[in-house]
């Protein structure tokens, strides 16, 4: 083997994970069985990882009741400085167990170990540390200090543990208790988090985790005993939750889909722009709500940019999520793979030009090669609908005004990127983009101190930062 051929396999060991055959629900500080169960599989191999309890109506009732009792008797009355101690303890335990959690997340989700190790887990710990810091300083945030009560939280499968952290850390810091439902295909790290809650001696009922699919989620958000509903997921489900919550006194926060525009002007730093494009759409297999899935390239530089992008895509390592050199892992589920294939077929049928580097995909598991579409018209489905996969649609523009118009011409409004060496253009364009997050000369950067959320059908409410606290406090 010569060095030019590629890298020898460098798999991360799974011995650090103590995978159990079955997992129960975490209610009132204890793991309990449910009447039904479902399987969670490793999307890279299609092997069953574990049997997981499926929460029914009675289970959800018990979880909400436990959260209510904990809120009224323990967590709500507890001084912020005391709550902070638990959150700091949880943050440190996450750091201590980060290797185990990273491997578990890669097994259950299919994302590369490089990302769980270098992105997900450090961010998860950072979210708990950040919000632990707020717990005793809420009077300085400007939203009062009164918690809402019991929060029903439903999270997606793309960043299982990170989305849990985005939901649980601020809720607990503000004095709320939670019932959280992880996604059907990725329940395992949430259940490992339940163990961490026990290790941290968090009072029973403060965090409850009910696993299940859409029906469990519906039971939870429609439960009359919850004061707050927080949902991250698809716009279709978000709309149905909004309808079910309408007319109740429940507070609602939604973080939904996106079709982010990544705008590259002709004076952009091209190498870093290529890197930014790759990071915008191939990070986490494109399973990112704020992905830069529409590349808007200025016509005068489009050809050069695309040549560089294709060369860069050819160096992406696709395969075993546990290999430390893997850049793009497995698609999370058969259903998601089918959705990606459907939209890619639509793109070809509507006349866009498809390109992907040659890469050997494993035979078992759910895989999709990094793909780029050129000759895309704004009317094509691949330019309008969220694909939620490693598929980039390239459109071109001629003037800054046209770039802004095209970027905003979507029902979504979660993220956008601007690439130019001209500072004044960054400010002028960012000002006109209707997106919750606008990155300049970078993409997909996150920090717990920076609020995140959408415009239009990408949702409402903010998570993270001082502004994120508002979602979990009752202003009198």
């Amino acid at each position: 083997m010569t060095f030019a051929d590629g890298y020898a396999p460098a798999p991360e060991s799974t011995s650090v994970v103590d995978l159990r055959a079955d997992y129960g629900l975490f209610i009132d500080g204890a793991f309990t069985a449910a009447k039904e169960t479902f399987e969670t599989v490793n999307p890279a191999t299609e092997e069953v990882l574990a049997e997981v309890a499926l929460a029914g109506a009675e289970d959800v009732d018990r979880a909400v009741a436990a959260a209510r009792t904990a809120f009224e008797n323990v967590w709500g009355p507890m001084p912020g400085a005391e709550r902070a101690k638990y959150l700091f303890r949880i943050a440190r335990l996450i750091q201590e167990r980060s290797r185990e959690l990273a491997v578990l997340e890669s097994l259950d989700n299919g994302k590369p170990i490089r990302e769980t190790r270098d992105f997900d887990l450090p961010q998860v710990a950072a979210h708990f540390f950040y919000h632990a810091g707020w717990a005793d300083k809420l009077e300085h945030a400007g939203y009062g200090t009164t918690p809402l009560g019991v929060a029903a939280q439903v999270i997606p499968w793309n960043f299982p543990l990170l989305m849990l952290a985005w939901k649980i850390a601020p809720a607990l810091a503000c004095g709320n208790t939670v019932v959280l439902k992880p996604a059907e295909t990725t329940p395992l790290t949430a259940l490992a988090f339940a163990e961490i809650c026990r290790q941290a001696e968090l009072p029973p009922g403060v965090v409850n985790i009910v696993t299940g699919a859409g029906e469990t989620g519906r039971l939870l958000v429609e439960h009359p005993g919850v004061d707050k509903v927080a949902f991250t997921g698809s716009t279709a489900v978000g709309k149905s939750i909004a309808r079910s919550v309408a007319g109740t006194s429940k507070r609602l926060g939604l973080e939904l889909g996106g079709k982010g525009a990544n705008i590259v002007f002709d004076d952009a730093p091209l190498d870093e722009a290529v890197e930014g494009i790759v990071n915008a759409i191939f990070f986490n297999q494109g399973h990112v709500c704020c992905a830069g899935s529409r590349l808007l390239a200025q016509e005068s530089v489009a050809e050069e940019l695309l040549a560089r992008l294709r060369a860069r895509m050819a160096t992406l390592v696709v395969g075993d999520p546990l290999d430390k050199n893997t850049d793009v892992g497995a698609i999370n589920s058969a259903a998601q793979l089918a959705r990606i294939r459907e939209l890619v077929d639509a793109g070809t049928a509507e006349g866009a030009e498809v390109w992907a580097p040659s890469c050997d995909l494993p035979e078992r598991g759910f895989w999709f090669a990094p793909t780029v579409f050129t000759e895309v018209a704004a009317s094509h489905r691949i330019a309008r609908e969220e694909i939620f996969g490693p598929v980039l649609s390239v459109l071109t523009f001629r003037t800054p005004a046209e770039a802004v118009e095209k970027a905003n011409n979507t029902p979504y409004g979660l993220s956008a990127g601007i690439w130019t060496e001209k500072g004044s253009r960054i400010l002028a364009v960012a000002d006109k983009l209707r997106a919750g997050v606008v990155w300049a000369n970078t993409f997909n950067q996150f920090d717990p101190a920076s609020p995140f959320g959408g415009f239009k059908e990408s949702g409402h409410g903010r998570e993270g930062g001082r502004q994120g606290l508002e979602a979990y406090l009752a202003q009198s």
Binding site: M1, T2, F3, A10, D267, P269, E272, N325, N441, T442
Partner: protein, 301 residues
């Protein structure tokens, strides 16, 4: 002659380098895991790319002869290094010691390391080194002229030195630690390549920071783009501060993924170093035998 105005237009027409992005890309490439057979292949490749260097005021013929011995007899079964790099007055010693070994003889010239001498002196320095048998000349650019915006002066000096080199290969040292910005690194790389450099080299080793990962990244992008646009393949030589096998492997990962596998060749990539070689040899033995030997099992030079 190319005027400063014309050069400025070319150099400032290059895409800018976003500092944050360049650092992030280099950091991400540094997480590549090179193991087992890949590592064995990479270590031997790295050994063949070493420009084994001694550039001290205290260098003596004895020291240079010892270094040349090391350059040839690296380890049983291991390749020889790419070249030995010495001051001009010691070129003759190296030529004698390396006769018929295939190891190159590189010499720094042009009033190394500061480059603060009249052009005539720099050219005489170069001609003498070539006359004495140097096969590669490592020149320094006039950083003062570069920072003052006198691109024509830098360009003309490089073409004059290239002319004085004859058949010897010219490596142009940018001294990136003094150029300070990645934009300057990219422009100076192009300036050197336009003027005829066979190699662009980061540093003299006398100034910090030297061959940082983002600097090497930007230079690898420059040779890749120059080859695509102008059709001439230029080599890259990081030098200064590369001491461990890990450092060297990170460089090779960059070469492979940024410039491309074509540059994984001692004719197009060299690593200027003095202490790196022994670490490469130690890691090589560790891979082959499974155990580390003490440093005393490897000759110091």
């Amino acid at each position: 002659m190319t005027s400063t105005t014309e050069l400025r237009r070319v150099l400032y027409g290059l895409p800018g380098v976003d500092e944050f992005g360049a650092r992030a890309r280099a950091a991400r490439l540094a997480t590549r895991s090179v193991k087992n057979e890949s590592k064995a292949a990479a270590i031997d490749l790295a050994i063949s790319m070493v420009d084994l260097t001694t550039l001290e005021g205290a260098d003596t013929p004895g020291k240079v002869r010892a270094l040349c011995g090391k350059a040839v007899h690296t380890a049983p079964g291991a390749p020889t290094v790419g070249a030995v790099c010495v001051y001009p007055d010691l070129v003759k010693v190296a030529v004698e010691a390396l006769a018929d070994t295939g190891v190159g003889i590189a010499s720094v010239a042009t009033a190394f390391p500061s480059g603060r001498a009249p052009l005539a002196v720099k050219l005489a320095d170069t001609r003498q080194a070539v006359l004495d048998g140097a096969t590669e000349i490592d020149m320094v650019i006039d950083r003062g002229a570069y920072l003052a915006g006198d691109y024509a002066k830098v360009f003309d000096e490089i073409t004059a030195v290239k002319d004085a080199c004859g058949d010897a290969h010219l490596k142009v040292i940018l001294e990136t630690g003094e150029l300070a910005t990645y934009d300057n690194v990219r422009r100076a790389s192009w300036l050197a390549m336009l003027a005829g450099a066979d190699f662009i080299k980061t540093s003299t080793g006398k100034i910090q920071p030297a061959a940082t990962a983002p600097v090497v990244l930007v230079m690898l992008e420059a040779v890749r783009d120059f080859a695509a646009e102008r059709g001439r393949i230029v080599g890259v030589k990081p030098a200064g501060g590369i001491r461990t096998t890990k450092d060297a492997l990170k460089m090779l990962v960059q070469v492979r993924e940024v410039a491309g596998p074509r540059w994984l060749d001692p004719a197009l990539f060299r690593i200027g170093a003095s202490s790196l070689l022994n670490d490469l040899l130690m890691q090589r033995e560790k891979l082959a035998t499974g155990v580390y030997s003490g440093p005393d099992y490897f000759s110091l030079d």
